[in-house]
Amino acid sequence: MFRTLALVLLLAGLGNREPGTGNESQTGSRIPDPGSRQAPDDQILHVLNRLTYGPRPGDVERVRAMGMQKWIETQLTPSGIDDRTIEARLARLETLTLDSQTIQRDYAAPAMLERRQRKAAAGQNADADAPMRGPVSEAIKKDRAVLTDLEEAKLLRAVYSERQLEEVLVDFWFNHFNVFAGKGATRNYVSEYERDAIRPYVLGNFRQMLGATAKSPAMLFYLDNWLSSAANARARGRSNGINENYARELLELHTLGVDGGYTQQDIVNIARAFTGWSMQPRQGSGFMFLAPRHDRGEKIVLGHTIKAGGGLDDGERVLDIVAAHPSTAKHIATKLVVRFVNDNPPAALVDRVARRFTATNGDLREVMKALLSSPEFLSADAYRAKVKTPIEFVASALRATGADVRTALPLARTLKDMGMQPYFCQPPTGYDETATTWVSAGALVSRMNFAVDLSKNAIRGVRVPLKEEETVALKIGSPEFQRQ
């Protein structure tokens, strides 16, 4: 009963008012009007909506008691937040702490062997589309757990971690440096990738995160750089010549942005600089530099000359150049402002955040502070201007209802049906974060059905402790709840 009331109260606070400009056709930049300033609790709700996966019953009161600024500061230093509850919930997911080599050796390889044997046994007549027949063996089950553990952990953390801003940022930066678990062996490296290349840096240094992703087996495999070789390298087997895939996405997506000012020749030269940056998928190895594959010639990259005769450091030099490029500051600032403030990012705010990025050499905690302390972040235009993405919707529904999640796999399936399966975004762009992509008739119908199922406790592994199911369904499926 308490929770019911809390929920109603919580949502009633959101009201049925016109959201901020978002993608609506309201024109002109509105001058902040002191008369329309939000009540303090509205500000707290706004902050909770953007910096967490949605407010839980009682969160507004807790933040009010602590003081909003103090609460934001706490979230910006996640190591200081006691998070033993989530650690206990994740303890059963045994693959989360393993390295890629162990996953390759003990999980992927035995399952692959078994799949081959089954395929051979099925013979030529096997239907290519048919799912594998017969009981699922231990080896296959174990292999599947590599991905399902990750998906479960993502959802459980989103719902239960007290370090909410960190989780939101891990989602943002994984998506920024996206890898696709569906591409061959990439699936064996994703756990390590998120844990070691993304998570430690989300409030740390951008150049360090960039370097960690560049050397991660996941990125080396997903964007093919592990095979890239100098044109005349006497490399073994199939590698002879550059592969442009990583070089292009490094500039277009990870750093400068598509209009950041680079040429096809820059891409070719960057690809040459990264020749020899490799790994060995069959061993599940970490980063290796294969000197015989490296193009030792001179490279001119974005106007900088990288002298002939270099090795591993040619790639490091490129990362230094692109991380410090003004277009990178602007690109990262724009993406953060779109994620945290508004689908139509205010130009003045982007400039300010970009300047902070440059001034601090990409200190992401400082960059976040600049963003969160800006008047634009708390402005009326930003208030409820964002439509939730599917994961934001699902996680916020579970948080708002105080749901107990015993297994998150059916929820991962829900996200897949909504077009946002975690770790399975195929293009390197990552999932879009704006309303135009996520508002569609099909998406709304899925959300309404999810709301009804949740209210009836019809989702396996999830229990909502509410008795007034009608109220819950209606609130979670309402237009107001689709926004944040």
Binding site: R17, S228, N243, N449
Partner: protein
């Protein structure tokens, strides 16, 4: 079932507005007698290698540039399926051969964008907005067609994407839907559904209000016109893949007389930078799914193909020469398929620029000799009979100076 009464009671009475009866229902029912023309657009996302899909086997440069991934000449083991003595289909595209032989399949080669970007995202954006080089265009070309050709028609089932996200091509002011499948497009709990309809109808949030109105209209229409089980006609067999299932849903909608005029589906995973394969391997498996799916759709639609065009596209082609890892990097010109009873098929359209290094775009890619908008324009103008004023709205700043005479 949750009781509707309770829903309304607990759902804030202030939100309840006067219900509306969608008038398009009556109109669409009346129009069902005269069969509509249908355009099915298929996007191959990730940039398919058009040179291994529609193989210029008459070019010796093709074989020089691709020592390990070229498709062998027709008549050899796993060779291309010859079309006209110069071009051939990838051997795994055998399901397309009967369409070619019947004269229902036309190919436009060396087509693409006047914009030179090799970014997947930008190139898809430009093709779907049909305004290459202009990022500020808000809507997609198919939505602009719907808006310009049927201002009075608010039927959201005129334009349907069988995708989880609304594709750029169909985004815009005209009603259109994206749905995973027609069968699952409902809120089964009638009490909840009625209450949701009321609160969304009362919502001031224009984006969500409008989208929900389209959703509920479409639900009513689908409930009236479709049955839960669907079996394809003429023994058509769709691949049991997401792409195959999306195409089957399109056939189901096309046959249920709900006013479908533009449908959209997508085929993914064409970005083969490594081990692309040739007659076997990655691209072969993707082309197998693609061609079996499209052929099943044509087969299933049967005599409806007289009123249907299936148009395929991909954001750009791939470099002429294979790269250092037996794959292909991003390129420029590509090939499109145009399939339908009214299409003058059995012909490869467009000026072939050649594959010699001097003939390539920037010395590396297949050059573009036909702007993709020429093809779009012709399909809308000739097949869907869009008027010149409508075409001017769909393709702002572009007037097709050439005409391929595809119809």
């Amino acid at each position: 079932m949750l009781s509707r009464r309770v829903f309304i009671k607990s759902g804030a009475a202030a939100m309840i507005a006067v219900g509306f009866a969608p008038s398009f229902l009556a109109r669409a029912a009346a129009a069902a007698g005269s069969r509509k023309k249908l355009l099915i657009a298929i996007f191959q996302r990730g940039a398919v290698d058009g040179l291994n899909m529609v193989v210029p086997h008459g070019e010796s440069e093709y074989y020089r540039a691709r020592p390990t991934i070229a498709i062998a000449k027709p008549g050899t083991t796993d060779g291309a399926l010859d079309l006209d003595g110069f071009f051939g289909l990838h051997p795994r595209m055998a399901p397309f051969k009967p369409l070619w032989d019947r004269g229902d399949l036309a190919i436009v080669h060396a087509t693409g964008s006047p914009d030179t970007t090799r970014s997947h995202f930008d190139a898809q954006d430009y093709m779907e907005s049909a305004t290459p080089g202009i990022k500020s265009t808000h809507d997609g070309w198919l939505n602009r067609y719907l808006a310009a050709s049927g201002l009075m028609d608010r039927n959201p089932l005129r334009g349907v994407a069988l995708t989880q996200q609304m594709p750029r091509s169909l985004q815009g002011a005209a009603p259109a839907l994206a749905m995973g499948s027609a069968g699952e497009f409902t809120v089964a709990d009638m009490g909840a559904r009625a209450s949701f309809e009321e609160i969304y109808d009362a919502a001031k949030d224009r984006t969500l209000h409008g989208t929900a109105a389209e959703a509920f209209d479409a639900m009513k229409m689908l409930a009236k016109n479709t049955t839960s089980a669907y079996s394809p006609s003429n023994g058509a067999q769709y691949p049991r893949t997401p792409f195959g299932q999306a195409l089957q849903e399109i056939a189901r909608l096309a046959k249920s007389e709900v006013g479908l005029e533009v449908a959209f589906a997508e085929s993914t995973q064409w970005d083969h930078h490594v081990n692309e394969g040739s007659s076997q391997g990655q691209i072969a498996n993707r082309l197998d799914d693609f061609s079996r799916g499209v052929a099943a759709l044509a087969h299933d639609l049967g005599d409806r193909m007289a009123d249907t065009v299936i148009l395929t596209m991909s954001e750009f082609g791939r470099a002429v020469a294979e790269n250092g890892s037996r794959g292909t990097d991003h390129g420029h010109g590509n090939a499109m398929f145009v399939i339908g009873g009214g299409v003058k098929g059995h012909q490869v359209y467009g000026k072939w620029p050649g594959l010699g290094v001097d003939e390539r775009f920037e010395g590396r890619d297949l050059a573009v000799t036909t702007d993709f908008r020429v093809v779009f324009n012709e399909v809308l103008g000739k097949h869907l009979a869009a008027k010149p004023e409508a075409l001017a709205k769909v393709f702002p700043g572009f007037s097709a100076t050439s005409n391929l005479k595809l119809f």
